[in-house]
């Protein structure tokens, strides 16, 4: 049995032990999301928030990217 809701030193998305805010995989997902935003902005002319919403809905989006996008949406609220 674990202590209730301990989040320190854990990835804020998947809760695996991590020295930084996000684990390596989710940090990479966030980096890629930011990198691809330029492409989406150019091709679809959408804003950051709509872009995040679009990629969370897209069935081709990778699981970690979806989780990272959902996290970024929550963070921006």
């Amino acid at each position: 049995m674990q202590d209730a809701h301990q989040t320190k030193d854990r990835c804020r998305i998947c809760s695996v032990p991590s020295e930084r805010e996000l684990c390596d995989f989710h940090a990479e997902a966030v980096r890629r999301i930011k990198e691809h935003f330029e492409v989406w902005k150019q091709r679809k002319g959408i804003c950051w928030k709509d872009y995040l919403r679009e990629i969370t809905r897209n069935e081709r989006t990778g699981v970690w990217v979806k989780e990272a996008a959902e996290y970024l949406i929550r963070e921006s609220r």
Binding site: M1, Q2, A4, H5, T7, R12, I13, S15, V16, P17, F25, E28, A29, R32, I33, E35, H36, V39, W40, Q42, R43, K44, I55, N58, R60, T61, G62, V63, W64, V65, E67, E70, Y71, R74
Partner: protein
């Protein structure tokens, strides 16, 4: 009176060999549970006895748990029946004056025969002869007995011995390190496994999974168009395949929709498609997966059953060769006696020269997989399917080249837009006639488009598309990857994939790596990078091939492995605590995740939490208190787990509580009508 002892690999093979050599005068008896077939060959008494695959294996020589460990010995396997059979064979061997190994003619078969002759029969391996055969047909077995090699094929034996010893050193030490480290960190006992071939394979799957999970799709647009030429519809491809602006694609679609264009140019190419080579094991596994959806291990099992019933040749081969000495004409003629293959056999034999197309791969021990001409009296549906696939592929190798005509027309419309229209026809069916229904190309008598034909654009739609992530491996693609990388052998690859499924490291037909698989690879990569390296494993496979061909010494290879791995394992001891803590954390995480994702916030996971105030347990979300306050009361006794079903009313997960023999199932949504009932 003394006799000759013939050792076989399996009971069914022993029976076939006994009846092939002894004709109808075979006496069958059981000695301590072991089937023994007594017969006479040219006045000499012969006892044919089977093994049950491997009767001996590698184990620790000393007692107690130690790490790292390199002290090993060959000993009887722990299975009670196998031990009884070893005793029985040992007693029968006492009365024998000559010995023959008639196990399958490959590395494992040679090793099985050697270990029995050496350890159970008191070191008589040096006196033994070796029968070499690729099919269990009467003629080949008689010839193999008559022309038996005067000694065991020690090169193959040593290659097999080294493989087992090296795999044991890798497997036992890494698994012990993982489990011991976990135990010391207070994580209890968990069965964790890692292996010389298994780990690099799992690592390759993880790398692909990472790319899929990190894929960000980029939008683009393309045209989905159709034209009608001479009354026939064809898909048309615009000169620009990908548009990076929807507006541009829409402009083209608007310009071309419903318009009439004309065929400006037609390019006709004729391609000769040679017959496919005969099957080796990898090809058969891939084709059976494509055609029937059978997993590689299932195909291998079925092919081995067909081999044991003498219907096909030895399946564990990498050869794509069919030497003439196999009596190919006779095999075709025998197959042609059945209604099903009569027509194909007649057409091949009518040509006069029976020469198959062969592939490049070779195998020193066996030819490509081929039918023997013997039809088993009974076959299951699956056996029948694989048998038919092997027979038709065998026939196809004798066929002529097929000729495909590919026509590509350039259609212009509006003087500025051009599309490509492609059509393909089978002009000469050649070998495809023999390989139906496993090849889809057919001859069509459709009209052909010509220059200046009118083309009407009946559909020009804009399609929203996104870049796709890399494809997942299927078992068949994974086998091909392992072949390319030199991971494992033709006989072990399917088993290694099965093992990854059994351990819960991968799941699904399109292979997905589980959290446990990721966790194990993460730790291996960090602490045992040598173990996930394809380079080291394929180099070792190369060493074993060299042992098999007599160019390398077995002891030298084992010592090289010990020298490489000893410092790695010693380094691990220094990092025991670190490994243990990481494993403990990961396993805890996995256990927490067993209840599944939080139905409220979706990004967190449900976990069992104990209230600090009341001390009572409940289900909460691990995102609390940051962005989720999901909670659900649960009984204070019993083991909580997630059931496979979701609630029929609200779609929330169903949780199962087991307390002794009582099981409750309930939905984790407090407001769900199913809970009110």
């Amino acid at each position: 009176m003394s006799y000759q002892l013939i050792i076989c690999e399996k009971p069914s093979a022993a029976m076939r060999i006994a009846y092939a050599l002894g004709g109808t005068h075979v006496r069958r008896e059981r000695y301590k549970g072991l089937p023994v077939f007594w017969l006479e060959i040219e006045g000499k008494r012969v006892a044919v006895v089977p093994a049950l695959g491997h009767l001996y294996g590698v184990e620790q020589n000393s007692t107690g748990w130690s790490f790292p460990i390199f002290d090993l010995r060959w000993a009887p396997l722990k299975d009670r029946r196998k031990r009884m059979w070893i005793e029985a064979i040992a007693e029968i061997a006492k009365g024998a004056d000559s010995y023959v190994c008639a196990c399958d003619f490959d590395v494992e078969g040679s090793l099985i025969g050697y270990t029995i002759l050496r350890y159970a029969c008191g070191g008589v391996d040096i006196k033994a002869k070796r029968m070499r055969f690729s099919t269990l047909t009467k003629e080949e077995l008689r010839s193999a007995y008559k022309n038996a090699l005067g000694r065991l094929d020690y090169e193959r034996v040593y290659a097999g011995k080294v493989r087992h010893e090296v795999d044991w050193i890798f497997g036992v030490n890494t698994s012990r390190a993982l489990m011991d480290a976990m135990g010391r960190a207070g994580g209890g006992f968990e069965v964790l496994s890692a292996g010389r071939v298994q780990s690099p394979t799992l690592y390759a799957l993880c790398r692909r999974e990472v790319e899929i999970n990190l894929h960000v799709p980029d939008p683009f647009w393309s045209l989905n168009s159709e034209v009608v030429i001479k009354g026939a519809k064809y898909p048309a491809e615009y000169k620009v395949k990908e548009f990076f602006s929807r507006k541009e694609a829409e402009d083209v679609a608007e310009r071309c929709q419903g318009k009439r264009g004309y065929v400006k140019d037609v390019l006709v190419k004729r391609k000769r498609i040679p017959p496919p080579p005969p099957f080796n094991l990898g090809d058969l596994q891939r084709e059976a997966y494509r055609v029937f959806g059978y997993s590689p291990s299932k195909t291998q099992r079925i092919a081995e059953r067909l081999y044991l019933s003498a219907a096909v040749s030895y399946p564990r081969t990498s050869s794509q060769k069919l030497p003439h000495s196999l009596g190919l004409g006779r095999i075709i003629e025998k197959l042609g006696r059945t209604e099903r293959y009569r027509e194909a056999a007649r057409r091949i034999l009518e040509k006069g020269i029976v020469k198959p197309r062969e592939g490049r791969s070779t195998d020193p021990a066996h030819p490509a997989i081929h039918p023997t001409g013997t039809l088993p009296k009974r076959m299951s549906g699956e056996e029948g399917r694989i048998f038919d696939l092997i027979v038709r592929r065998f026939f196809a190798t004798f066929g002529e080249d097929a000729i495909l005509e590919e026509r590509e027309a350039v259609v212009e419309v509006n003087e500025r837009d051009s599309f490509k229209v492609r059509a393909r026809d089978l002009v000469e069916s050649g070998w495809t006639e023999y390989y139906r229904p496993y090849v889809a190309w057919r001859k069509t008598e459709g009209q052909r488009f010509e220059v200046n034909d009118e083309a009407i654009f009946v559909r020009v739609d804009v399609e929203d598309k996104f870049t796709a992530p890399p494809e997942r491996y299927t078992a068949s693609k994974l086998i091909a990857y392992m072949e390319r990388q030199g991971l494992g052998t033709k006989s072990t690859r399917a088993e290694i994939i099965d093992n990854l499924y059994r351990r819960g490291y991968i799941e699904g037909r399109e292979i997905k790596v589980t959290d446990l698989g990721f966790a194990v690879v993460g730790i291996l990569k960090r602490f045992f990078p040598e173990l996930v390296s394809v380079k080291m494993t394929s180099a070792l496979e190369g060493d074993m091939v060299e042992i098999e061909s007599g160019r390398r010494d077995q002891v030298e290879v084992v010592l090289k492995v010990v020298d490489t791995m000893k410092p790695v394992f010693e380094r691990i001891i220094e990092k025991y605590e670190e490994i243990g803590e990481e494993l403990f954390g990961v396993m805890n995480q996995l256990r927490r995740n067993e209840l599944g994702p939080c139905p409220k916030c979706r990004s967190g996971h449900m976990r069992i939490v104990r209230s600090k105030k009341s001390g009572k347990r409940f289900i909460g979300c691990d995102n609390y208190p940051n962005f989720c306050n999901f909670s659900f009361p649960i009984p204070q006794r019993g083991k909580i787990s997630r059931s496979n079903a979701d609630c029929n009313f609200c779609g929330f997960p169903i949780i199962e509580v087991k307390d002794g023999w009582k099981i409750w199932r309930f939905c984790v949504n407090a407001g769900c009508p199913s809970n009110k009932r």
